[in-house]
């Protein structure tokens, strides 16, 4: 009983112990809050990526691949609901007569997209695309201003006055000041044989009319892609191949069997493209795999942040170690009389260990509570700070979000608590061990 009694008394009469507790509290709080924001962000990013992706993509198709034959083969799978062939090419978009924008800075990522001149030009059949992705909804997104909306969403890429049309991401349109009906020039190129077995780059310029804006939840997709009619792009790039296809977007009946279906479709595509030479052609990927690198990079950043925050916890632990060591030094005078009254070295150790563990428990408990509360009410806190100071702690528009994302993971909370307890126990053990080894006779011989 004396261990707990003395530990509590020692703690209550030494406000400096609050420093150690505060350190643990802050590190636990930061670990809970920051990681829950990042986890929420990851969920949001995944949702955004999902919203702009087909369930399955078939790509890396050989140049001679027949779109129709492949489409038919894919449709034979019982889980395939619909397919949409695409042409995918690079290009630059600008107003006629304008110089192209400078190339992007090295290391610039396309998280948000649209800040560099190069684009993926997707040649699609609007009706087929609408059957496999959220294409139709992207044109009707509420955030698109009326003057930038597509006039006829049922035929958004139908040529107007003989000029083919292009759909541009909303933010790119706004940033570049494009209006519906504006004329733009798509500059791209293709490799052209010269008859001597050599190939050279042939520049292609397509004059297009802006049909309007599209908007998915994925800013990177919107910024880096434009849509044109597949037939228009085919005539420009592959005039002699009426059945050309570079990618096929697939919609499934049941997404829960995505992995099994992907494997099945992969075998099917290899079979369909087999020319008897045993070469595997074509690559089938589920939406998560296709965007895996991007999603993993965000997850990796979360991992790095965890490491940084654990270092903060270690720093807090050193603060606790310092305060506990100070306390042991101050209380060595008590060790003699405790021993004389019947305490064992183990008992003395437990007194000081109890002090450290109590500080840790209080820090962990308060840190978890504070972390959970601030995570749950983060959006309200952001709004309050914005209202009170004018400072936006988390500008939502940068990440295309409606509110600050947050996902509390019970397993992570447990891990943080366990980690903090383990750290607290380790840094408490050393001063406690020092106290237990203190010779009680040194204290008893006089002060």
């Amino acid at each position: 009983m004396y261990r707990l009694f003395l530990a509590v008394r020692y703690l209550l009469t030494r406000p400096i112990n609050l420093l150690g507790m505060l350190g643990i509290l802050l590190s636990v709080w930061a670990l809970v809050l920051v990681v829950s924001i990042f986890s929420g962000f990851l969920v949001e990013i995944e949702r955004h990526v999902r919203s702009a992706s087909a369930d399955v993509s078939v790509h890396r198709l050989p140049a001679w691949a027949s779109g129709k034959a492949l489409e038919q083969a894919l449709r034979d799978d019982p889980n395939v609901r619909d397919v949409a062939p695409r042409l995918v090419h690079y290009g630059m978009l600008g107003r006629p007569g304008d110089r192209p924008q400078p190339p992007p800075l090295l290391g610039r990522t396309a998280l948000h997209g649209g800040d560099q001149p190069f684009l993926l030009v997707l040649g699609v059949d609007a009706a087929a695309e609408a059957a496999v992705t959220g294409f139709a909804g992207w044109l009707r997104a509420p955030s698109i201003p009326p003057d930038l909306r597509v006039a006829d969403p049922t035929a958004p890429l139908a040529a107007a006055d003989g000029t083919p049309r292009v759909l541009v991401g909303l933010e790119r349109m706004q940033r570049e000041g494009l209006r519906r009906g504006d004329r733009v020039l798509l500059t791209t190129g293709r490799l052209q044989g010269d008859g001597d077995g050599q190939k050279g780059l042939q520049q292609i310029s397509l004059e297009l009319q802006v049909a309007g804006a599209f908007k998915t939840h994925h800013g990177g997709f919107d910024g880096n892609n434009v849509f044109v009619d597949r037939e228009v792009l085919r005539q420009a790039l592959f005039p002699d191949r009426p059945d050309a296809v570079q990618e096929i977007a697939v919609r499934l009946h049941d997404e829960s069997t995505l992995s099994a279906t992907t494997d099945r479709l992969q075998r099917l595509v290899v079979r369909a493209l087999d020319r008897g030479d045993d070469l595997a052609r074509g690559h089938v990927q589920g939406w998560r795999d296709k965007n895996g690198q991007f999603l993993r990079s965000v997850e990796h950043q979360r991992g790095l942040l965890k490491i940084v925050l654990v270092v903060i916890m270690v720093t807090a632990a050193f603060l606790m170690l310092a305060t506990l060591s100070m306390m042991v030094t101050e209380k060595t005078a008590d060790i003699g009389i405790l021993t004389a009254m019947g305490a064992t070295p183990l008992g003395v150790l437990q007194v000081f260990l109890a002090c450290g563990l109590t500080i840790t428990a209080a820090g962990v408990g308060l840190g978890l509570s504070a972390g959970t509360l601030t995570s749950v009410y983060l959006e309200e806190i952001r709004r309050f700070v914005l209202w009170a100071t004018g400072v936006d702690l988390f500008p939502l528009q940068v990440y295309n979000l409606d509110r600050v994302p947050c996902a509390l993971e019970p397993l992570w909370l447990l891990q943080v608590a366990a980690m903090a307890f383990a750290t607290g126990a380790v840094v408490s053990a050393w001063p406690a061990w020092r106290a237990a080894r203190h010779d009680p006779l040194v204290s008893l011989r006089g002060t």
Partner: protein, 231 residues
């Protein structure tokens, strides 16, 4: 004569200082009977306090043995020696050694908590508190129960230490110059108190002191010089 409660038989104790061996006790024999009051007299460095620590099982002899109620106890495991100290031995020191964070009552109660589990303490807390209060009343501190050591005089602190030493109802009290830090008037009061309690409870009482006059009030005087008993 009563059989001895506490005995030292041919006890030696030496400390190592670097490569040198410093002998402090050189074959001490001493026996204290139940109800006996013994004064241990000697100059500084004679080995009085070391003998008290060895007899109180706070320190182990280099050779020889310590017996409690006829049983050798000096080589018992640490936990067992701690239990014996708690159950049968009370200590009073020159510098009181009260825990500054605790009130007088809590300092006394702490002695009762030493060998008690939390649950057992919770069940018996009222009785323990009543016993501690009774002891503090007996030593004249009925108005100082909730004062901390810093708010007490030297004499009052020593009275708290005496009450603390008695809470577990020990058979032996070992007092190491208990009046060495008090003025003569206060010291006289503390001595009267200790002796009267010793008589009431028939305690085996070993008093380490420099004070000849105080020693003469004991049943027997044991003189030490250079680590040996000389008379």
């Amino acid at each position: 004569m009563n059989p001895p409660v506490l005995e030292a038989l041919a006890v030696t104790k030496s400390y190592r200082l670097g490569r040198r061996e410093i002998p402090v006790l050189r074959g001490v024999d001493l026996a204290i009977a139940q109800g006996e009051r013994v004064a241990l007299l000697g100059a500084s460095g004679a080995g009085k306090s070391t003998l008290l620590h060895v007899l109180g099982l706070l320190d182990a002899p280099t050779s020889g043995s310590v017996r409690f109620d006829g049983r050798p106890v000096h080589a018992l495991p640490v936990a067992e020696r701690a239990r014996l100290r708690h159950r049968h031995t009370g200590f009073v020191f020159q510098f009181y050694h009260l825990i500054p964070e605790l009130t007088a009552l809590q300092n006394v109660l702490l002695a009762g908590m030493m060998a008690t589990s939390t649950l057992a303490w919770w069940r018996g807390r009222r009785a323990a508190r009543a016993a501690a209060e009774a002891l503090l009343v007996q030593v004249g501190l009925q108005d100082r129960l909730h004062h901390r050591p810093a708010e007490l005089s030297g004499g009052e602190r020593q009275r708290v230490a005496i009450a603390r030493a008695l809470l577990a109802d020990p058979k032996v009290v070992l007092a190491d110059e208990p009046t060495g830090n008090l003025d003569s008037a206060t010291a006289a009061g503390v001595v009267e108190l200790m002796f009267s309690i010793q008589q009431q409870r028939r305690l085996a009482f070993l008093l380490v002191t420099h004070n000849e006059e105080l020693a003469r009030r004991c049943d027997r005087i044991v003189r030490m010089q250079d680590g040996v008993v000389v008379g």
